[in-house]
């Protein structure tokens, strides 16, 4: 049973976003890191990149799979988690904490309304098991 954290918003592509004011922090859910298994590589965008909702912002790779990460909402990248470049396994050990990927300033906070809350995402995951 994978962990879902209250208060975050979720996508069907298994990204989460934590919103504080106009700033969003984005990462990969526990369900997804579990499915990928040992994560060996994370590719992150450059700070300053402007990306639309659903735009690809990075890649996460295990030994046997690669998946693209997409923006839960549009915005400008203000920080990337450089620790993941040398220690990608943090995504496995702490997906909602130290394993965050990027921080953005939201360009249109209304886009968040289309995302799932924790309960809806937990149900969505249960449906895939």
């Amino acid at each position: 049973m994978s962990n879902v954290v209250e208060g975050l918003k979720y996508t069907k592509g298994d990204e989460w976003i934590r919103v504080e004011g106009n700033v969003g922090t984005i990462g990969l859910t526990d369900y997804a890191q579990n499915a990928l298994n040992d994560i060996v590589y994370v590719e992150l965008p450059s700070v300053g990149a402007v990306l639309a909702r659903d735009g690809a912002f990075g890649t996460v790779e295990s030994v046997k799979a690669a998946s693209e990460m997409h923006m839960p909402a549009g915005g400008t990248v203000t920080a990337v988690n450089e620790a993941l470049e040398s220690e990608p396994e943090i995504v496995n050990s702490d997906p909602y904490g130290a394993g965050w990927f990027i921080k953005i300033t939201l360009s249109n906070p209304a886009e968040l309304d289309d995302l799932m809350d924790a309960a809806a995402y937990a149900e969505y995951c249960a449906g895939r098991d």
């Binding site: 040992d38 060996v40 590589y41 790779e61 030994v63 990608p88 396994e89």
Partner: protein
């Protein structure tokens, strides 16, 4: 601890494994400013090299050692005469840019190979240019593209690919600039005809499909699939990876396919070489003849009389998609395939397909009570099983594969096709005897029993191989790809070299 030292670890300054002649002309001045100052190659004797590589070879499993039922790869016996043929000095020492008059033997061999492949496929023309099956696929899709463009038809942007396809198919489609549209399979493992009909419109450039399917099955409704795609103006590409089930059984050209590729390293017994070289000729019907990759071999002048031979030469098809590689295809592989075809003849090639299918069905029938056979009907040259059981959830197909190594067999293909959970794809090929198949079947039955009685045996397997299970996560994280310290030309401290 290491099984065999690296060649660099055997190095001793001053040794050399060859004796080269002295300089027999006056030396010229070397341009000092352009010369390099270091060259970090090993320094070893010929004996060192022979022993090192011989010991390495002994860490491998090949067809010459035993049964290698790697599905979709057709690991049949590679006849020794093929190797001798390709090494004849008149072939091996032949420069590719000689005038055609000086290479008539090679050109005639290529011409006949083209003709044989055309006849077996029921197609009108063949190009031997593609260096591998994947390059044949690429050539095929580029021809389809050029065909549509030559008719001024620019709307077609999509190629249909069943979800059971080899990964090369969708990758090929993208490389050629098309969008790959994945089609679902129905409950029988065949293409879902309703989904196909729904996808067919005037944006469809064509469809790629494998025959027999990657599940090892002849799709009963293949004529309907071909018709649906043709009706919307698309062309049909056949992935010929499974031609070993097809020779003298079905000619793709007669069934309506427009283009296909062969894998000479599968069907025609040229060796797999630890991962190539292969050869992937493409065969096309009349529509696509002008677009073949070239040059191909043609007859430039007919023979004057019956005793005479024609003049063979290079022909560039008029609207060719172009050249796929330098020179003329993997000629050394083509020589091996030609030798194999001549040895077998038409009747022998038909027997190859008959017995390949017999062997696969024999394995299927023997194992159906021990493993789930997802589509348990008469199969082609390979059979797909599910490598798991509900009552032992900890065991996966990979564990069965690793345990097979303890029985001295190479494992089947794992996890392909993707539409079968825990797939084990078994392709025995026609060159394996009943005794070999019986021994393999016995091992598979034993493993099924072990999985239930003593699963640890599978989970800890393999036990008798030179190395145990290999840590691929560590490999991907540390990325040690080279054991030579590379001078820091541009400043790159974080790139690790070997720890030894």
């Amino acid at each position: 601890m290491a099984l065999e030292p690296l060649i660099y670890e055997l190095s001793s300054p001053g040794r050399c494994g060859v004796h080269l002649p002295g300089l027999d002309v006056p030396a010229s001045e070397l341009p000092a400013a352009l010369l390099r100052t270091e060259l970090d190659l090993p320094e070893v004797s010929e004996v060192d090299v022979i022993r090192h590589y011989l010991r390495l070879s002994q860490l491998n499993y090949g067809i010459d050692k035993g049964f290698y039922p790697l599905g979709s790869c057709t690991m049949k016996y590679n006849p020794k005469v093929n190797e001798d043929a390709a090494r004849l000095p008149g072939f091996a020492a032949l420069h590719p840019l000689l005038d055609i008059e000086d290479a008539q033997g090679a050109l005639m061999l290529m011409y006949h190979t083209q003709e044989w492949l055309a006849e077996l496929s029921g197609m009108k023309g063949v190009s031997l240019q593609p260096a591998a099956g994947a390059q044949g696929e690429f050539a095929g899709i580029l021809m389809i593209r050029k065909y549509h463009l030559s008719r001024g038809d620019t709307k077609r942007t999509r190629i249909l690919v069943p979800n059971s396809a080899h990964g090369t198919n969708p990758a090929t489609v993208s490389m050629a600039g098309y969008e790959a549209v994945e089609l679902p399979s129905d409950e029988n493992g065949d293409v879902d005809l309703d989904a196909l009909l729904a996808a067919c419109d005037d944006t469809v450039a064509g469809m790629m499909i494998t025959v027999p399917s990657t599940l090892g099955l002849f799709e009963a409704r293949l004529p309907d699939v071909i018709k649906a795609v043709h009706d919307c103006g698309g062309l049909m590409y056949m992935d010929g990876a499974n031609m070993n089930a097809m020779m003298g059984v079905l000619k793709p050209g007669e069934l309506g396919f427009d283009v296909m590729h062969y894998n000479l390293h599968k069907t025609f017994s040229t060796p797999h070489g630890g991962g190539g070289p292969g050869s992937g000729p493409v065969a096309v019907n009349e529509k696509l003849l002008p677009f073949l990759p070239g040059p191909i071999v043609g007859i430039l002048e007919d023979a004057g009389s019956l005793d005479d031979v024609p003049l063979f030469g290079w022909v560039m098809p008029e609207q060719s998609i172009g050249r796929l590689k330098a020179f003329h295809g993997n000629f050394g592989i083509i020589v091996r395939a030609f030798t194999y075809m001549r040895m077998n003849g038409g009747s022998g090639l038909h027997d190859v397909s008959r017995y390949a299918v017999l062997n696969a069905n024999y394995v299927r029938t023997a194992l159906r009570d021990h493993y789930v056979v997802p589509h348990d009907r008469t199969c082609g040259h390979e059979v797909v099983l599910e490598g798991h059981w509900k009552d032992v959830p900890g065991i996966h197909a990979l564990d069965i594969s690793k345990r097979l190594m303890d029985y001295n067999f190479h494992p089947p293909t794992n996890y392909f096709p993707l539409i079968v959970p825990e797939a084990l794809m078994i392709e025995p090929t026609e060159t394996e005897s009943k005794e070999t198949l019986d021994a393999f079947i016995e091992a598979m039955k034993n493993i099924a029993r072990e999985a239930h009685e003593n699963p640890e045996l599978l989970l800890e397997a393999p036990h008798i191989t030179p190395v145990g299970r290999v840590d691929d996560v560590l490999a991907a994280k540390q990325l040690v790809l080279c054991c030579v310290p590379i001078p820091d030309w541009a400043g790159s401290p974080e790139f690790k070299t070997s720890t030894d």
